[in-house]
Symmetry: C2
Subunit: 245 residues, 2 copies
DNA sequence: GAGTGGTCTAGACCACCAA
DNA sequence: TGGTGGTCTAGACCACTCA
């Protein structure tokens, strides 16, 4: 039950405690991606607080893109399985601004062991089993991104070529429907590099050609890292979009 | 005065109207960067609404980094003139994570005319007078960024070499104190490019070396574009950090 | 202690959606 | 028409800061 005591040494606002309880229900799978959660009034009764306090907790989760409010309908668990947000984390857009047909070209999928770096960022032991996927993303038929993806094997048991190909571009949508794992945010580290021989041949370029190197770590509920990837992007006719606030 | 009428064709929430009024006071200079604005209670009386409504308007401006709330003290107009936010828009960090000494090396400052592109993004006529600044940013003594900056001449009348050198890295801090212009957000378009002869020589590289090209448009109150810049960054030991939410 | 922002409540009413 | 989220109010009380 919630703790309304003030002045206690570990004072936390009520709405913050409600937020934790809601998050726990999300982690525990009581409400799954796409589901509608109970109404504010119901939740207020369940947690024995006012509707306004539940509201504030939900507001916070909504600005984090974890829940989605729809006036007149209800509040829903966010998902990558909708056309409008399927590629929420893809920041690469055409210089012309035109929409493009995105396709997935499978390269490989093998079991491996975490090295020091991937072990560290995924918070697993170096040497723990991982699954490594390589793929090409084509924009309107032209290969523009070479992706190298590493995930811990345990929560993604059964990930294989077929599932990657079915994903049709959005791994995150596939993670949700196949493994019940939802990514809520990611961090990217970007550099300019010269294309290696392997990447250059996959993208049809000369070795040494300037590419955008994008290293990404993705996090699920509770800020637990669940995927590491390294992408090499050809940015001759495209750019990476970033908003500074 | 505010308009509480519901059901009107152009319905806007009260707090949204208050937000506009607050923004107008910021644009008009009633409260300048660093100033404390009136208390919530005072503002509620001034606008004849409840404190909670003023609160919601201020909350919104605070999440946009336009105002800053300090419990027990008051609400202040955000500024770039503080050590902790002087480089708020600088996303380049060392691979090692170490803090670095940032310095400004002046290259040039000339009057010019807006071309089609800068005219368009700055929303001024192509051919209108602009001021163009070139500078080098050095990290711990090593030149890493070549910046080419264009601003409209009118609002920045008097911008010259001395002012750029005084800025010591943060143009935004200088814009505020010298011209009363505060930037609240920016958009960046990032690509990987091969270094041109001019940029390569400034950064001490071979022509063709891979560099991060960062094109930025910065906006002041009311989302008016006020600066365009193109930066070329050496990312051998640094990366551009981006958060996806 | 006085003044500021922050939390929490209870209740009234509006806007939107679906059946 | 009923249910959902969205707005607005009024008031009580807590937490933080500074003189």
């Amino acid at each position: 039950m919630v703790d309304k005591s003030f002045g206690s040494p570990s004072y936390r606002p009520l709405y913050d405690q409600i937020k934790v309880l809601l998050t726990q229900s999300l982690i525990g799978g009581e409400w799954r991606p796409g589901d509608m959660i109970p109404s504010e009034i119901e939740l207020a009764q369940r947690y024995k607080v006012s509707q306004g306090t539940v509201r504030k907790a939900i507001d916070s989760l909504a600005t984090e893109n974890i829940l989605i409010r729809r006036q007149g309908k209800g509040t829903f668990v966010a998902t990558h399985n909708q056309d409008d947000v399927r590629l929420r984390f893809l920041r690469l857009t055409a210089e012309s601004g035109q929409k493009e047909l995105l396709q997935n070209e499978f390269l490989s999928c093998v079991k491996s062991k975490a090295n020091v770096h991937t072990g560290k960022v995924l918070e697993i032991k170096a040497g723990a089993t991982t699954i490594e996927v390589k793929r090409l993303l084509t924009f309107s038929g032209r290969p523009l991104i070479y992706d190298y993806i590493v995930v811990p094997a345990a929560p993604f048991k059964g990930l294989n070529r077929a599932k990657v190909e079915e994903s049709n571009g959005s791994m995150y949508s596939m993670y949700e429907s196949q493994f019940g794992i939802r990514m809520i945010r990611a961090e990217e580290r970007i550099k300019a590099v010269a294309a290696s021989a392997e990447v250059a041949s996959s993208l049809g370029l000369k070795e040494g050609y300037p590419l955008l190197s994008v290293e990404r770590v993705s996090f699920t509920y509770g800020d637990r890292p669940m995927e590491w990837r390294l992408g090499f992007c050809l940015t001759d006719d495209h750019h990476y979009m970033s908003e500074l606030e």
